[in-house]
C-alpha cells in the first residue's frame, strides 16, 4: 500500500518538468561570465543609456559597436583619457573617459563609480614635463623642464635653457621651487624662485674664446592655464641676477606647454 501510495504521489507530467528545470539550470551554469582578461583594471557596468565604442582612442575614430545600459565591460588600459575595454563577447574598442565616469564598478559589492577609481589613480600622477620658447636678454630662447608637484601648492622644478644669439650663445640650468598661489583652478598664477649655473660663449666666427660661467639667481611669476586634462599652457616672466664678477640683471619671458601625468 505504501509503495503504491508513493508511486501515486509522483504524477507523470512532473518528471519531464523536473528534467526541463534541471536542464535549464545546467545551461545557465555553462554560460557563466567569461574570465577577466589579464591586466584588467576594473570590471564595470554601463550606467549611461548607451556608450559608443570607437576603433581608436579619439572622437575622430569610427564607431563600430555600441554597449547598452547595464552592459558589463572589462577596462584594460588608458590612453589620452580614452579607455580600452572588452565586452563579455570579446569585442575590444575604446570608450571616452567621460562615458565611463558614472559606470558602476562590479567588484565585491563596493559602491564605487569608475570616476572615483580614476580620481584616485590621477591623484598619484604629479609629474610634469614641458618646454618654453621666449627671449632671454633679447635673444631667442628655448627651454625645457621637468617638475614634481608634491602638494597642491608646491612643485620642485629643474629647467635647462639655450639662447643661441647673434653674437653669443647663452645657456643655463636651474633648480627651483614653484608656488601655485591659487591651485586647482583653470587659471592658476604661480611664483618661481630658483638658482643655477649660467654660461655664455661668443660666436666662433667673431671671437674664439672659452665660455664665461657664473651663477644665476632667478625670481619671477607666471600663470598656468589648464587647456585640457593633463595639458597646460603656461607663460612667465623671470628676472635673472647673474653673478660672475659683476652682478648683471637680465629679463626672460617665456610661453610654452606642459604635460602632466
Amino acid at each position: 500500500m505504501a509503495a503504491e501510495t508513493g508511486h501515486a504521489m509522483i504524477s507523470r507530467p512532473f518528471v519531464p518538468a523536473l528534467g526541463l528545470l534541471l536542464g535549464m539550470l545546467g545551461a545557465g551554469l555553462c554560460q557563466a561570465v567569461p574570465a577577466a582578461p589579464s591586466g584588467t583594471f576594473a570590471h564595470v557596468a554601463i550606467a549611461n543609456d548607451f556608450v559608443e565604442i570607437h576603433a581608436g582612442p579619439g572622437r575622430g575614430y569610427p564607431v563600430f559597436h555600441v554597449a547598452e545600459k547595464n552592459a558589463e565591460l572589462y577596462v584594460l588600459r588608458e590612453k589620452v583619457n580614452w579607455y580600452k575595454v572588452q565586452t563579455l563577447k570579446g569585442i575590444e574598442g575604446w570608450i571616452a573617459g567621460t562615458d565611463l565616469a558614472s559606470a558602476r564598478v562590479l567588484d565585491g559589492g563596493r559602491s564605487l563609480s569608475f570616476g572615483q577609481l580614476e580620481t584616485a589613480e590621477q591623484a598619484r600622477r604629479r609629474a610634469e614635463v614641458g618646454f618654453f620658447v621666449g627671449q632671454f636678454a633679447g635673444d631667442s630662447m628655448l627651454s625645457a623642464f621637468v617638475a614634481y608637484r608634491f602638494t597642491r601648492y608646491f612643485a620642485v622644478e629643474v629647467a635647462t635653457a639655450k639662447a643661441p644669439g647673434v653674437y653669443s650663445a647663452s645657456s643655463y640650468n636651474r633648480l627651483g621651487i614653484r608656488v601655485h598661489v591659487v591651485p586647482n583652478r583653470q587659471w592658476s598664477p604661480y611664483v618661481v624662485g630658483a638658482a643655477g649655473l649660467f654660461s655664455t660663449k661668443p660666436r666662433s666666427t667673431l671671437l674664439d674664446s672659452d665660455p664665461a660661467n657664473g651663477v644665476t639667481s632667478v625670481f619671477g611669476g607666471g600663470v598656468s592655464y589648464v587647456a585640457e586634462r593633463g595639458f597646460d599652457v603656461r607663460g612667465a616672466v623671470l628676472s635673472h641676477w647673474l653673478s660672475g664678477g659683476n652682478t648683471t640683471q637680465f629679463i626672460e619671458w617665456q610661453v610654452g606647454f606642459a604635460a602632466t601625468f
Binding site: 591586466g39 583594471f41 576603433a55 581608436g56 582612442p57 579619439g58 572622437r59 575622430g60 575614430y61 569610427p62 577596462v75 584594460l76 588600459r77 588608458e78 590612453k79 589620452v80 583619457n81 580614452w82 580600452k84 563596493r110 564605487l112 577609481l117 584616485a120 589613480e121 614635463v129 614641458g130 618646454f131 620658447v133 635673444d139 631667442s140 630662447m141 628655448l142 625645457a144 639655450k162 639662447a163 643661441p164 644669439g165 647673434v166 650663445a169 660666436r203 666662433s204 666666427t205 587647456a227 585640457e228 586634462r229 593633463g230 595639458f231 606647454f257 604635460a259 602632466t260 601625468f261
Partner: protein
Amino acid sequence: MSKTLILGVALWVCAASGWAADAVYNTSGSLPILEPTLDRRTIKVPDIDTENFEVGVFIGVLSVEDFGSSMLRGARVGIHATQDFFLEGAFGQATVSDESFKTAGLSPFGAAGNHLLDYYNVVIGYNLFPGQIFWGESRAWTSAAYVVAGVGNSHLANDDYFTMVFGMGLRAQPTDWLAVRVEARGHEMETNLLGRQKMGHNFEANFSVGVFF
C-alpha cells in the same frame, strides 16, 4: 501545538525586543552612540596600464641650405597629452659637407671639410585627421595625419643656431603599442656660416618607428 500558543509566543518575542529597545534609550536619557560593527575596508586602487608615452627612431634625409643633402638619423620621445595634442622632443644628426664651395675655391669649414650637424628640438603636435587605413578586405590600422611646430637648436661648426621647426606627417598604428610614421619637416635656422646673418631653410624627410608604453 495550538495556534493560540504560537500566537502568544510570537507576541512575547515582540514585546521583549521592545523592552530591550526601551532599556537602551532609558539608560542615559540622551540619544545612544551607535557602535559600528563593520570594519572600514581600505580600497586599493590598482595601477592602470597607460600608453601615453612614445619612443621612436627615425631615418631619412636632411637637406641643408647651401650645403647639400645627407642621410639623417635620430630618435624622438613623445608624450601624448590629449587625443588632440602631443609634445615631442627629437634629436637628429647628419653630416654636412662644404664640397660644393671647394670647387669654387671657398672653404667655409676650413680644413675640417665635413661637420656633423646635431639638432634637438621640442615641438607641439596636433592630430588633424584621425581615422583608419585599410589594407585589403580584412585589415585596418588606426591612423592620424598631424602637424607639428616648435623650436630647437642646431649645432654646426662649433656654433649653435636657434631653429624653428614646422612640419606634418602621417602616423599609422598596426597595433596599440606600435606606430610607423612618414614625416616632412622644415627647419628655419638663423645662420652666419657664409659671413652674413641670414635665415637658412633646411628640409627633412624621415620614416620612423615608435613604441607606445
